[in-house]
């Protein structure tokens, strides 16, 4: 079961990464994440946004969707980052940035969607009983 996404649209500039971080933090807090996992996920989202910013077409806006997810005993968030690409190709999974993102969430994938390059991050955490 997925809730409705929270969507951010920001200029492709690192000055806006703090917003990605703050929004991800808030969503993970609501999902009941422990602080250190929450921080990892926020860092991953901002790192993923930074990665796609490098390939953003001039003037393109970057979209970050945060979709809270709950399945079975797991809670979490799906993070989709998307921007119009200038190179027309996806980032390589062997880059340092990808390595960082991959270490912080459970799964990362990328694809081209028309002119847009997309990154999909999945983060899950066992539900902690309050």
């Amino acid at each position: 079961m997925s809730a409705r996404p929270i969507v951010l649209q920001i200029p492709a500039s690192s000055a806006y990464l703090v917003l990605v971080r703050a929004a991800t933090t808030a969503v993970c807090a609501r999902a009941g994440y422990p602080i250190d996992r929450l921080d990892d996920t926020a860092q991953a989202a901002s790192e993923a946004a930074a990665l796609l910013m490098r390939d953003a077409a001039p003037g393109a806006l970057l979209t970050v969707s945060l979709t809270p997810a709950k399945d079975g005993g797991l809670t979490g968030v799906d993070i989709d980052v998307s921007v119009r690409s200038s190179s027309g190709r996806t980032p390589r999974p062997t880059t340092f940035s990808w390595t960082i993102v991959a270490a912080l969430v459970d799964h990362v994938s990328t694809r081209m969607n028309g002119e847009n390059v997309e990154l999909h991050l999945r983060s899950r955490q066992e539900v902690i009983a309050q």
Binding site: S14, L17, V18, R21, A22, T25, A26, A29, G32, Y33, P34, I35, D36, R37, L38, D39, D40, A42, Q43, E47, A50, L51, R54, D55, S87, P91, R92, T94, T95, F96, S97, T99, I100, A103, I128, Q130
Partner: protein
């Protein structure tokens, strides 16, 4: 932009020794002369050094007081200031002809400022947020200990008797300030530890693109930041585990990680 705690250091020098007699001054001079002349591995060095450090603790106390009301306890500031004092004692050279306190003051103040920078408070943070961050630090440590894992925002809010929104605000401000403090000039003097870790860096970067760009960037990080990065990303330790291993708070580890990655990011623009 960095309006780090004020520096009107030149006047400090006289003040802390106002209680000194002429005899104290002679003793100071004699100790420093002896220490300068000693071989680095002389067994008497330690006692001499301790004596000099004790003599100048009032200077550290005095300098630490100038940073009061900035959200750090006086004891902590004296502790980090003392590290600066010890470094100054070790590096002082009588032959340069400067007063020891003139020489030591910038080193002590430098350590204290570095402490504030590490805590992400290089720029003026509203007092309410500083207090929230201290509260968060304490609460996180207490609950981590109690639960055996990192606490959730809801648990922290309940434990500290504040709202979840306040916790979030505290977490955000913590990161925002950590990121900003990057722009400030850095006079950190704990330099990189090249030789020791190059091998580890190479191993960690196996299979990663841009190794040639990355290697010197990683190698030029301060030793502690290097270690945190390696533990988190290449040995898969959690922030809480790293915090326990290095002896910092989890929030401190989080800030250092965020800051280090942001710094690397700026220099790795072709990493796509």
């Amino acid at each position: 932009m960095s309006t780090t705690p004020t520096d009107a250091e030149s006047t400090d020098v006289i003040t802390h020794r106002s209680g000194w007699s002429a005899r104290d001054r002679v003793i100071e001079r004699r100790l420093l002369t002896e220490l300068t002349a000693m071989e680095p591995d002389d067994p008497r060095r330690r006692a001499l050094r301790d004596q000099l450090v004790t003599m100048h603790l009032p200077l550290v106390e005095y300098l630490a007081r100038r940073f009061r009301d900035r959200g750090e306890s006086h004891e902590d500031l004296v502790q980090v200031g003392t590290i600066g004092l010890i470094n100054a004692v070790d590096r002082f050279d009588v032959e340069r002809g400067v007063e020891f306190s003139t020489f030591a003051t910038p080193t002590i103040v430098g350590e204290i400022k570095r402490h504030f920078r590490d805590r992400g408070w290089a720029i003026r943070v509203p007092r309410r947020l500083q207090e929230m961050r201290m509260l968060l630090n304490r609460g996180t440590a207490e609950l981590t200990q109690k639960l055996g894992r990192s606490p959730t925002v809801a648990e922290l809010a309940e434990h500290l008797g504040v709202t979840e929104d306040e916790i979030l605000e505290g977490l955000e401000s913590s990161q925002a300030y950590a990121t900003k403090s990057l722009d400030g000039s850095s006079d950190d003097d704990d330099g990189p530890s090249m030789a020791a870790s190059l091998g580890k860096i190479d191993l960690a970067l196996e299979g990663v693109d841009n190794r040639e760009t990355l290697r010197p960037l990683l190698a030029s990080l301060p030793e502690r930041e290097q270690r945190i990065l390696m533990l988190r990303f290449f040995q898969n330790k959690t922030q809480s585990e790293i915090a326990a291993e290095i002896g910092l708070s989890q929030m401190h580890v989080s800030r250092l990680l965020a800051r280090t990655l942001a710094g690397l990011r700026e220099q790795m623009l072709d990493d796509y």
